[in-house]
Amino acid sequence: MKVLVPVKRVIDYNVKVRVKPDQTGVDLANVKMSMNPFDEIATEEAVRLKEKGVATEVVVVSIGPQQAQETIRTALAMGADRGILIVTDQDAEPLAVAKLLKAVIAEESPNLVVMGKQAIDGDNNAVGQMLAALLDWPQATFASKLEVTADKATVTREIDGGLQTLDVSLPAVITADLRLNEPRYASLPNIMKAKKKEIAMKTAADYGVDVSPKLKVLKVTEPPKRSAGIKVADAAELVGKLKSEGVL
């Protein structure tokens, strides 16, 4: 079974994001970039499937700048087998990404796509769903548990108010939620092995997909600053405050 894992290079989750002074976007100059954390979880899950003998090959694909090779190498060091980088200089929109992935899938014919539920930069939470729709494949989003057999996947999903368990027939698109697993860190021997693994370099034109933007960003603003809290002396004062603020 072949598993495809799309991964995105995003601002590292530890970095405090700054809006550019002209409000056209966020400042990416000299900012640490890393693999989207949900994609790390997806990669981990795919690698575990391989270790269990369910998957035979894990292919990672990224759409992004040249430096996204680094992100792919990270996935290769975690245990993925090979990578594909589709180089674009602009941040492709969800639909363009979904179309590109569809084209990659047409070439690669994976049995399963495991991907992050969303990227922490735009927080769109859209590509997985769009991709499933374009492919007309079943989808199971927000997975917190995944079991895969030859022709079906049993997925536990985190939904409002509880957990839902679904069976989806393969091929299918699964998107990973935070609690699916805890990604490993690459060991030194695996970092060394990853250097020798293949990354195929492509462009959007190779797949005949138009990635020009269809959406227009009007303005990006900082979230409002949280004002400092107040300290209360004891429980009685706390209850009093909560009452006077109308919380209780």
């Binding site: 190498r73 690459a186 060991s187 030194l188 021997p189 695996n190 250097k195």
Partner: protein, 389 residues
Amino acid sequence: MSAFWLSEEQEAIREGVQKVMDGFGDEYWRKTDETGTFPEEFVAEMAAGGWLGVAMPESVGGAGLGLTEASIVMQTVAQSGAAFTGASAIHLNIFGPMPIVKFGTQAQKDAFLPRIIAGEDKMCFAVTEPNSGLDTSSLETRAERTNDGYRINGRKIWTTSAQRANKVLIIARTTPKAEAKKPTEGLSLFYADFDRSAIEAKPIPKMGRKAVECNTLFIDDLHVPADALIGEEGQGFKYLLQGLNPERVLFAVEAIGIGRIAIAKAAQYAKERVVFGRPIGQNQGIQHPLAKAWAELEAANLMAFKAAALYDAGRECGAEANAAKYLGAEAGFRACEASVLAHGGMGYAREYDVERYFREAMIARIAPVSREMILNFVAERVLGLPKSY
């Protein structure tokens, strides 16, 4: 000029090690320092991640990388707050076996190195002696030939980790100094089992790094087989010298790592601590010592990574490695001092960790070679002044 910043692969190495270190927070190191318990869990994780073999050849299961990468690994460890407790717990695995790599037979390499990389064999390094100190060629431990090997007798001091070690890399005289062609000849290097029936190791109560102990060794008729000898008999001092430059660089980057976390913690504290109605960090009297420490640390770091780059390129690096060790140790120590002072009374409290860094930072100023001997070396070899010792 080679690069001034890390390559992507080097950055991946730093991150890989950092992830290991994330599992061992301040609490962990504070505790090891209180109880004196060796940080086994940390060493096991470093071994499992393959990090101990960073500079060992690929043919024996290492990563085949250079001193630069080894320096990145060790600096990341120290800079995480593990300080010398973490760094010294694995330091010897990283470059200690270099004499075996460079001068051992294939059979010795195959037998010894994979076990060191896997953390299965724990070695200690016995050079310093109570009666000879820095004057290594005057060491008194003797190795005499027997039918099937050598019999070693003598005393060593400061041997790090001898309580835990099952192997010892030891230098001893095989030809008396008076009979050797040169004082530096007639010394031989052995890699042998740490046989506790012949070696008594007594811990030395000391200032810091309690969890990674140092010992006095009393060696009484230690029998080692002939194949414990590394390289040629009588050439041990030369082999030892080969490993000195990398070790100096590692000490430098470790000390710099400690200095970096010390001033990072001080800056954080100085932002939060309010006295006289303002954060103490708003005062230049607090800012400047920390800023100066940063500048000194980063300058020392450039020297250290230059020395590493020279070493990796196979070039002469003695002056740079020595200077880096000197600068790094001094800058690391001064940064820790500035950090303790910036914390005021809290700098003296264990809870804030910086007093531990301060105590441990002293190690790099003394070992493996003192500041004075480094300056002697630079004066003689770089400035061409007469040899003073």
